[in-house]
C-alpha cells in the first residue's frame, strides 16, 4: 500500500485503474438509469418526479464523501507533509463542489413540484449550502496561494475546521424537525424504502461512487503532472539564469 505513496507509482497505478473504473461506472450508471426509468415504480403521491431521487441522493452522499476524503488527505498533509496528500486534497475540492451543486440543483427541481417552492431555509438545505460555500472558499484559497506546499497546509487547516459541518448535515434532519424528510436508507431498523427503489438507488450510488473515484484519480494525476511541469519550468529558469551569468 505504502508503495503507492510514491507519485510515480501512483501514476502507474492510476493509469491502469482509470479505464476499468470508467467502464464500471458507465455500466453501473446505464443499469441504474435503466432501472430508474423502466423498473422502479412511480410514487403513489409524487408520480414520476420521485425519480429525481436517484440522482439527488447519490450526489448528496458523494458531496459529503468527497469532503471526508479531502479531510483524510488534509490529515496526511498535516502529519506527513506528503506531496501526494497535497495533490489528493486539491483534487477533491472541485469534485466535491460539483457533486454538492448537483445535489442542490436536483433538490431544488424536486422541491418545486413537491413542496411548492424552489428553496426553503431548512436545516438540511442550509447546511448543504454551507458545505458548498466551504468548497468554494477552499478552491479560492488554493488559487490565491502560489506556493503549492504552503497552499496545501493552509487548505488542510481550513478543511479540518470545516469538518464540523459534516455531522451537522447528517443529523440536521433529526435535530431540527423541518421540511426535508429524515434519513430513509441508513437508519436503525433498516431502510424505509422498498425493494426495487432501494436497488435502483444503490446501483446509482455505486455508479456515482465509481465515477467519483475515476474523476478523482484523473484529477490527482493532473495535479501531479502540473506540479512536475512547475518544477521543470523553475529549473529551466534557474538554468537559463546561470548560463547568462556564465556568459
Amino acid at each position: 500500500m505504502l508503495k503507492y505513496a510514491n507519485p510515480t507509482n501512483f501514476l502507474a497505478l492510476a493509469g491502469r485503474l482509470i479505464p476499468w473504473l470508467a467502464a464500471a461506472s458507465a455500466l453501473l450508471l446505464s443499469v441504474g438509469l435503466y432501472l430508474t426509468f423502466f423498473v422502479a415504480p412511480d410514487d403513489y403521491q409524487q408520480g414520476s418526479s420521485v425519480k429525481i431521487m436517484y440522482i439527488h441522493v447519490p450526489s448528496a452522499w458523494l458531496g459529503m464523501m468527497s469532503y471526508m476524503v479531502m479531510a483524510s488527505a488534509a490529515l496526511g498533509t498535516m502529519v506527513w507533509r506528503h506531496p501526494l496528500a497535497d495533490a489528493a486534497q486539491k483534487a477533491a475540492a472541485p469534485l466535491g463542489a460539483a457533486f454538492t451543486l448537483l445535489c442542490l440543483v436536483t433538490g431544488s427541481l424536486w422541491g418545486k413540484p413537491m413542496w411548492g417552492t424552489w428553496w426553503v431555509w431548512d436545516a438540511r438545505l442550509t447546511s448543504v449550502l454551507v458545505l458548498f460555500l466551504i468548497y468554494l472558499g477552499l478552491i479560492g484559497l488554493w488559487q490565491t496561494i502560489e506556493e503549492p506546499a504552503q497552499a496545501a497546509r493552509a487548505a488542510a487547516i481550513l478543511t479540518l475546521v470545516g469538518v464540523v459541518n459534516i455531522p451537522i448535515i447528517k443529523f440536521s434532519v433529526d435535530w431540527w424537525n423541518t421540511l426535508h424528510q429524515p434519513a430513509s436508507v441508513f437508519r436503525l431498523g433498516g431502510p424505509a424504502i422498498g425493494g426495487s427503489m432501494l436497488w435502483t438507488l444503490l446501483t446509482m450510488a455505486m455508479g456515482f461512487t465509481v465515477l467519483f473515484f475515476m474523476l478523482y484519480f484523473m484529477a490527482i494525476r493532473n495535479e501531479i503532472l502540473r506540479r512536475r511541469l512547475r518544477r521543470l519550468s523553475i529549473d529551466a529558469a534557474h538554468a537559463e539564469e546561470k548560463s547568462e551569468v556564465l556568459v
Partner: protein, 224 residues
C-alpha cells in the same frame, strides 16, 4: 516592574488599536453606518424595523468584526513582528489567544456597548435591547476567534481581505443563527431565552478553546 510577555503583548495590541488608523474605532463607525443604512433600504416602517432589528444588528456586527480582522496578523506580518512572535518561547497558541482578546476588547466590545443605542433607533423594545446586547456579548468572541483562523490563513496574501470573508462567513452561520434567535427570544416567543443563549455561549467557548490551535498552525504554515 517586569511585565509578563502575555500582558505586554496585550497592552501593545490595545495601544495599536487605539492609535489613529489602528482600526478600533473605525469598526464602530462602520457598524453605525451599516445600521443606519438599513432603514433607508427597507423603509422607515417602525413595526417592521423593530421585528427585524436583532437581525440587522447581528449582520452589522458580523460585517464590522470582519472588517477589522485583516489587521489582526497582516500588519505584524508586514513589519516583521510576526516573525518575532513565531520564534518567541511563549507558545504561539497563547499569543494568538491574547491578540484575539485585545482585538475583541478594541473592536467587538464597543459594538456590544453601542448596540442598545442603535436598537433604540430601530424601535426595539427594552427586553429586546437587553437581549441583543447579551447575545452580542456572548457571541462576538466566537466571531473574533473564527475570524482569527481566516486572518491567519490569509496573512501575507495580496488579495487576502475578500478571501478571508469568503472563508469565514460560512463558518460563522451557526453563531449568527443562535445569536439572532436568542435576541429574538428575549422579547417573547415560543423558545425560552436561555436555550439559544446557552448554545451561543457554548459556540463561543468552543471557538476560544479550539481556534487558537488552528490559527497558530496556519501562522506556522506560512513559512514552514
Amino acid at each position: 516592574m517586569k511585565q509578563s510577555p502575555l500582558s505586554a503583548l496585550f497592552w501593545r495590541e490595545l495601544r495599536i488599536a487605539r492609535s489613529v488608523g489602528g482600526g478600533g474605532s473605525m469598526g464602530l463607525v462602520f457598524f453605525l453606518i451599516l445600521v443606519s443604512l438599513t432603514p433607508f433600504a427597507i423603509g422607515p416602517d417602525l413595526n417592521l424595523l423593530s421585528r427585524i432589528g436583532p437581525a440587522i444588528l447581528w449582520i452589522a456586527a458580523l460585517l464590522a468584526t470582519l472588517l477589522g480582522l485583516d489587521r489582526l496578523f497582516q500588519s505584524d506580518a508586514d513589519d516583521g513582528s510576526l516573525d518575532l512572535l513565531l520564534t518567541a518561547s511563549t507558545p504561539l497558541e497563547l499569543l494568538v489567544l491574547v491578540k484575539c482578546a485585545a482585538h475583541w476588547m478594541a473592536t467587538a466590545l464597543p459594538l456590544v456597548i453601542a448596540s442598545p443605542l442603535l436598537g433604540l433607533t430601530l424601535a426595539m423594545e427594552p427586553a429586546s435591547l437587553a437581549g441583543i446586547s447579551l447575545s452580542l456579548l456572548a457571541g462576538t468572541p466566537a466571531l473574533t476567534m473564527l475570524g482569527a483562523i481566516g486572518a491567519a490563513l490569509t496573512a501575507g496574501l495580496r488579495r487576502g481581505g475578500l478571501l478571508m470573508a469568503v472563508l469565514i462567513l460560512p463558518l460563522a452561520t451557526p453563531v449568527l443563527i443562535f445569536g439572532v434567535s436568542s435576541a429574538a427570544a428575549a422579547s417573547g416567543g415560543t423558545v425560552p431565552f436561555h436555550i439559544p443563549m446557552l448554545i451561543l455561549c457554548a459556540l463561543s467557548l468552543a471557538a476560544v478553546a479550539g481556534a487558537p490551535f488552528a490559527a497558530a498552525a496556519a501562522l506556522r504554515a506560512r513559512d514552514a
